[in-house]
Amino acid sequence: MAGDLRQQVRQALAHPHLPAALTRFSEDYRSSRARAYEGIDFEALRSRIAEVKARAANRLDQLAEQFAGAASARGARVVRLHTAEDVRRYIADVAQRHGARLVVKSKSMATEEIHLNAALEAAGIEVRETDLGEWIVQLARQRPSHMVLPAIHLTRDDVAGLFSRETGERLEAEIPRLVQVAREQLREKFLRAEIGISGANIAVAETGSLVLCTNEGNARLVTTLPPVHIAVVGIEKLVERFEEIEPVLAALPRSATAQQITSYVSILTGPAENAGGGPKEMHIVLYDHRRIEMSEDPLFCQALQCIRCASCLNVCPVYRLVGGHVFGKVYTGAIGTVLTAWIEGWEASRGLEQLCIQCGACRDYCPAKIDLPELILEVRRRAAAAAPRPLAARAAFAVLSNRRAFHSLLRAASLVQKPLAEGPFLRHLPLFFTEAGKNRRLPALAGRPLRDRFPHLPQPRSERRVAFFAGCLIDFVYPEIGEAAVRVLNRAGIEVVFPEKQTCCGAPAHFSGLPDAAAANARDNAEAFSGAGYEAVISACPTCTAALCTDAPRALRQQGEHDLAGRAEHLAAKTVDFSTFIRRLVEEGALRLPAGANLPPLTYHDSCHLKRTLHAEQPPRQLLRGAGYELREMQESDVCCGMGGSYSLKLPEVSSAMLARKLRMIAATQAEGVALDCPGCLMQIRGGCAAADAPVRVHHTAEWLASLLEATD
């Protein structure tokens, strides 16, 4: 399975058109979406949407009943169905009763989910998608690769080829002409079809209304021209009251297509008059495959809040490299990973969840405030629990949970690697790592880890003390970052202690979906830091900080260890990331940073955890500027560098592509140095610069600050 996924990923990355098209789209999307949301308080809007949809998700069954009652009272035939087969059969029956030979469809993800078209075609009924993108992929006999832009993976030449085959006429790859051809071809179908099938963007329980949004006008024609209209609606589309349409309509076009509103919004409440006279025969299929079960799961019920805008696809640094055919099945991207797990099962989502690098961008943009990274992590946990763990992984995590064994192994490894090390980098890597090493030089393990150096650091005695949480990378690979942090803290008159029994923060286990190993780490750290005598616990790795502050207490509670969870919470309350703490010291007046001279211009890289989990992207910038550094902001400074912990080893091709982009952004600033606050990002970016022979120095903020202290000593 893993091999198959990597093969698909490689093919997607090598595609001549796809990654470039999706990347251009993601760049345009960021700016055009920002323009569409000008003047709107996005946080307030999405809180409202989350509240409306969460309330609905809690009462899906009742709302479905209420909807059915209201719509039936208006003359619609409403039916609640639970399996794909039931829906296909229902629609086939309606078609047969009317002797229908031709069906026209407007966009409906629910009908994709049940594979409706194939079933109707097997029954001898011609089905025409009328949304242009959907029609194109129908002609290409492919799945849509994006929920809103289904044919984004195809070029105008591809479309010209498809339309030429369809019309029997040789067509040039000229877009206005191709659109005109689509208009003519489909117009004839609209006028001839006996049945129109649509989805719905929103369903209102109070009134029995359906809301359909399109830009093309095809939903209007699908619901107006044919004498029969069948709407297939997943029950997660339900909201309780008519007025609740407003916030969803405010967000959906803005997040989906960066518009204030789509060209057409049609609100249907029961059957309207038919084009030929007489009432239309209107069927509404409320589709409930697995939705009620999802709504009963305390974690996954929030996935029902989705308004199908596809923001999560548009801001995902991985999706834009591989596209929806790799990163999804019926539903794609982050939400697709979660829905696939429920709709098709945990097995089906196993490859998909591996693609998520957990950068958190999707969570920031979701207009329904769904914690997508957490849901994907839970999919990962359940998939890991369902499958037998491979021996190597079990061994690795057994070691990771045992502090003494882990640290002994690392010390031994640092000796073993000696023949392979060339200065600070590993020269040749064992086969397993070669893909990872292509665009990135990996660092050598430090000869003397931080924990060994600590007792010998010359520190002044002081009343004020903090404890330092090193984390694996700073302890064993970059001890100089720890030393720099200590020097800066000393300058503020603070003594730093290093509790020896500290171990891995638990993030690697947590992100691999192994909660018991993560809990073992959390236990060790809670005990190691249970001493008094320090006012704070400083961490210079935001992944560790986030793990200690949020995941560790939760992991212990989930294992039922409430006392230890209490101690972990105590530790969490005292834990601060390095730059936030230093800024506090500067504001207190305890630390005065000397203004340096002749400093190299820097650019700053935002680590995912520092910015999106800890919301601490300002302190490092303020400190560096305050110290006299010129900061040149790079484009996409907050887009993931591709490290993702073990991600860079599991999906090295994706990691490399993300790193390459980050290096291009850095080069464009012409800065001489990169500042960042995460040793993981540092490993990735410094390794990439070295492999590319880029003359850019990459250092932790602590090091850039500490170097000023030397200069002025």
């Binding site: 345009d28 208006r74 191709l178 209007r220 007025e243 919004v265």
Partner: protein
């Protein structure tokens, strides 16, 4: 409000024409003439609405050659223009809102390549929410919101105006008979 509506509608790709008080019919006639309706063999379909019913059908026939009041699938599909009357407009987005329960309204506003939307200048509200609150969905099976002409970006994300719906939307804002000044 009118100014804001105009800016929003134009930003969404519509053309906005204002007519003087009481001169709606003349403005419509001029617009149709400019578009070749009634002269170049082109027709325009116009389903029932409050403005239309203010005039005698004989007068309409005289002033607006090429206008067809009997709106069917065939007449709408063959027409060059469709004229429909909207109940209100939204200044924030340039949106037109209509009770489009009568099929003729939808045929006229979707099938022909040119859509002429008639809107009273005093029927413009500020926000989408304001507009929705004016309508009771229980009373109308089809409530239509129209903003600009039809469009797509499904081929290489290149924006193309005019897919299944109209290629052009002209909004004719008019002051109803009997109002003094603007």
């Amino acid at each position: 409000m009118v100014e804001k509506f105009r800016r929003s509608a134009e930003a969404a790709g519509a053309e906005v024409v204002e007519s003087r008080a009481g001169a709606a019919l003349a403005a419509l006639a001029r617009l149709l003439r400019d578009e070749g309706v009634g002269t170049q063999g082109r027709t325009a379909v116009w389903p029932d609405g409050p403005l239309q019913s203010a005039f005698h059908p004989g007068l309409l026939e005289q002033m607006l050659p090429g206008v067809v009041l009997d709106v069917t699938r065939d007449t709408a599909a063959a027409a060059y223009a469709g004229i429909t009357e909207f109940d209100c407009g939204v200044a924030a987005t340039g949106t037109l809102v209509q009770d489009a329960s009568a099929a003729a309204q939808r045929l006229a506003s979707t099938l022909p390549p040119l859509h002429i939307a008639l809107l009273r200048a005093d029927a413009i509200v500020s926000s989408l929410g304001d507009a929705l609150r004016r309508f009771d969905p229980a009373r109308m099976p089809f409530l239509a919101l129209v903003t600009g002409p039809s469009r797509t970006a499904d081929i290489e994300r290149v924006l193309t105006i005019g897919v299944h719906g109209p290629r052009r939307l002209v909004v004719l804002l008019y002051e109803p008979e009997g109002r003094h000044g603007r």
